[in-house]
């Protein structure tokens, strides 16, 4: 008895051990799972398709301008195929949802949650480990795809990136990662509040489709209703109409990411939003430096990070207040 007590004292190591063990298991589960493989495959094919489009159009693009040609690998598609940045914008959320939609509800339905909670770990380490492991898996996905596009650019097109381009690509990939992490956090939130994984998945997917496909229509509809563009009044309303539509669109992380990625990957984008003629007077046309591009979309980045934090915080609070019993 005494011996086992001493033994226990020796092994009553800090609680961080629980988080690390959980994180390792979750990450291993992700990397081992079929769904991770499938989503990676899907994104890989989409990337390959977009690269095909980019390579076929690269010659025309190069005739116009050869500056920042390497970045064109990420932003050029063809008339029929989206660019890599667009694909990532649209399909990235699916990766986040796939990795998170049953994070908590599967533990519940398997009956492992109460067994897990009965171990000497803090309860929040369960949800923290799940989010961190999902984020790590997403980081791998994004990094792989970025490396794949760059490698094809180097090998097939024979163009080499400048330092500025490399930094811009890294910045873009980081933003994409944060953007996808938002969807992971959202999916985890639904997995906490929904009893069934299928409900959580459906909820996530409907939000994803709404924000990606229909938000722009809704924004345009609302803007046109409030500030009609017909007649003489229409001319007066033009600016308000546009600003309202843009503001509404920017509620969606989809739009935020698309603006941010366009600005980061294209140094020639000098402004987002409305610019009057008087404002452009005297401006010298030329690419922005990376710092200036980042400054331009800084609010977007802050909002994206904040969205991740808010989504995770809400799911964290819900999880901590929930009854453990099934």
């Amino acid at each position: 008895m005494q011996k086992s007590l001493i033994e226990r004292e020796a092994h009553s190591e800090p609680h961080r051990g629980g988080l690390v063990a959980l994180y390792r298991k979750e990450l291993a589960d992700h990397l081992d799972s079929k769904r991770f493989f499938l989503i990676l495959l899907l994104l890989f094919f989409a990337t390959t398709a977009s690269l095909g489009g980019a390579l076929s159009n690269l010659r025309e693009v190069a005739e116009e301008s050869t500056t920042f040609l390497f970045l064109k690998m990420f932003t050029t598609g063809s008339s029929t195929i989206y660019s890599f940045a667009t694909f990532l914008n649209f399909l990235g959320p699916l990766a986040g949802i796939t990795l998170g939609f049953d994070a908590i509800s599967s533990e519940r339905s398997q009956g492992t949650l109460n067994r897990l909670a009965a171990q000497p770990i803090y309860r929040d380490s369960i949800i923290k480990a799940k989010f961190l492991a999902g984020a790590a898996a997403l980081f791998l996905i994004v990094a792989c795809l970025g490396a794949y596009v760059s490698a094809v650019g180097l090998l097939m097109a024979g163009i080499h990136p400048s330092l500025e381009e490399v930094l811009r690509i890294i910045a873009f990939l980081m933003i994409a990662w944060v953007y996808i992490c938002f969807w992971l956090a959202l999916a985890i939130f639904f997995s906490v509040i929904c009893r069934h994984a299928a409900t959580a998945a459906l909820a996530c997917i409907s939000i994803w489709l709404f924000l990606s496909l229909f938000m722009s229509l809704v924004a345009a509809g609302i803007a046109n209703t409030l500030f009609p563009l017909e007649g003489i009044q229409g001319l007066m309303n033009m600016e308000s109409n546009y600003n309202l539509e843009l503001g509404l669109n920017r509620l969606s992380p989809y739009y935020l990411f698309s603006e941010a990625s366009t600005t980061i990957l294209n140094p020639n984008v000098r402004s987002i939003g409305v610019v009057t003629m008087s404002q452009t007077v005297g401006a010298i046309a030329g690419p922005l430096s990376l710092g200036q591009s980042l400054l331009l979309v800084w609010p977007h980045l802050v909002v994206l990070v904040a969205l991740v934090i808010v989504a995770f915080a809400v799911s964290y609070i819900c999880f901590m207040r929930q009854e453990i019993r099934a």
Binding site: H11, A21, R24, Q110, A118, I324, R325
Partner: protein
């Protein structure tokens, strides 16, 4: 060492809105004891076990395990207490061994000690052959045995089991009961079992607490509870005679103190009375020319104790009339809409 109190609760109460799941529970369990928490489904047994583990916060009152407050020091408590939930779940994609290893890691066990313990425990619960198969292929009994190994991974001094015998075949049940007894007598662990399966509980528990609608209505050793009932005037006599005719039933009714007479399919008489009938019964049988085939004085067994206590609780409270069935009594009662 003998009477060291390991687990105690003081006026532990849990309310969910209007519903009181557990009310003013005062319990103490001493070291090395097997304590049975009995009650129908929904009596608050699981809520109690969750509060003891710090997984649910009590509305009022406190619980202590080895001096640690279960609500405020849950990590310390969970280091000491192994919990086997009802319908224990494992990660289906991992093997039994991997599941145990994960539990070991969560408990911060040293890897070599962890592997060593996994081997010993798998041996102990008889799962060595199946250890490297995925848990999704396991039967319910195997899961339960793996569950016990899982609980023992942290070498707990207290084990809480929630309905451990549910859905296990008789042979598995026998092994399980032997194992639980071994955990108590050989290892000196304190065990708290919650169950509604009276027969199994009777075999292993040193003491039982009877739980009805969130209240502990009786607590003590099974024999003491039985004696307590006798003192309150409940005698149950079971006997079989030949020939088993109607005349005897009439004569029995004339005896003083008889409250109820019934006969089951086999012709066995079941007589409840306020006093010991045996002295009167034998002359009566001899007189009538009956041959006595079987005689059994009941009252000391848990089924009866439970039934009487439950009835008493029902009389005091607003509970509907009890069902007078001998088998599966609790299950039926639990299913009856209130």
């Amino acid at each position: 060492m003998e009477d060291r109190i390991i687990l105690e609760t003081h006026n532990l109460t849990k309310r969910y809105g209007q519903v009181t799941a557990v009310e003013d529970l005062n319990l103490s369990v001493v070291q090395g004891e097997v304590f049975g928490l009995l009650g129908p489904n929904g009596a608050g047994k699981t809520t109690t076990t969750l509060m003891l583990l710090g997984l649910t916060e009590p509305t009022s009152g406190e619980a202590f395990i080895q001096g640690f407050n279960c609500t405020r020091q849950p990590i310390e408590v969970k280091k000491l207490v192994g919990y086997l939930p009802d319908n224990v779940g494992f990660y289906g994609d991992l093997t039994g061994r991997e599941n145990l290893r994960f539990t070991g890691q969560l408990n911060g066990l040293d890897p070599t000690l962890c592997e060593e313990r996994i081997g010993q425990l798998l041996e102990r619960v008889g799962m060595t052959q199946a250890a490297d198969r995925r848990v999704s292929t396991y039967s319910r009994g195997m899961r339960q045995r793996l569950g016990i190994a899982d609980v023992l991974m942290k070498d707990p001094s207290v084990i809480i089991m929630d309905e451990p015998t549910l859905g296990i075949d008789p042979e598995g049940m026998r092994e399980l009961i032997a194992l639980i007894r071994q955990l108590s007598t050989q290892d000196g662990r304190t065990i708290l079992i919650s169950s509604h399966q009276l027969y199994q509980i009777q075999q292993i528990c040193d003491r039982v607490g009877i739980f009805v609608k969130g209240k502990l209505i009786a607590c003590g050793r099974i024999q003491d509870l039985g004696r307590q009932l006798e003192n309150e005037g409940l005698y149950i006599l079971e006997f079989a005679v030949s020939p088993a005719d109607e005349g005897l039933e009439k004569r029995l009714q004339e005896l003083e103190g008889v409250t109820q007479i019934s006969r089951n399919q086999d012709g066995m008489f079941h007589v409840e009375s306020h006093r010991d009938l045996r002295p009167q019964l034998l002359p009566l049988l001899v007189e009538g020319g009956y041959e006595l085939l079987h005689l059994h004085q009941r009252g000391g067994d848990l089924d009866e104790i439970y039934r009487r206590y439950f009835e008493k609780a029902g009389e005091q409270g607003d509970h509907p009339t009890q069902e007078r069935k001998r088998s599966g009594l609790l299950g039926r009662l639990a299913k009856k809409p209130d």
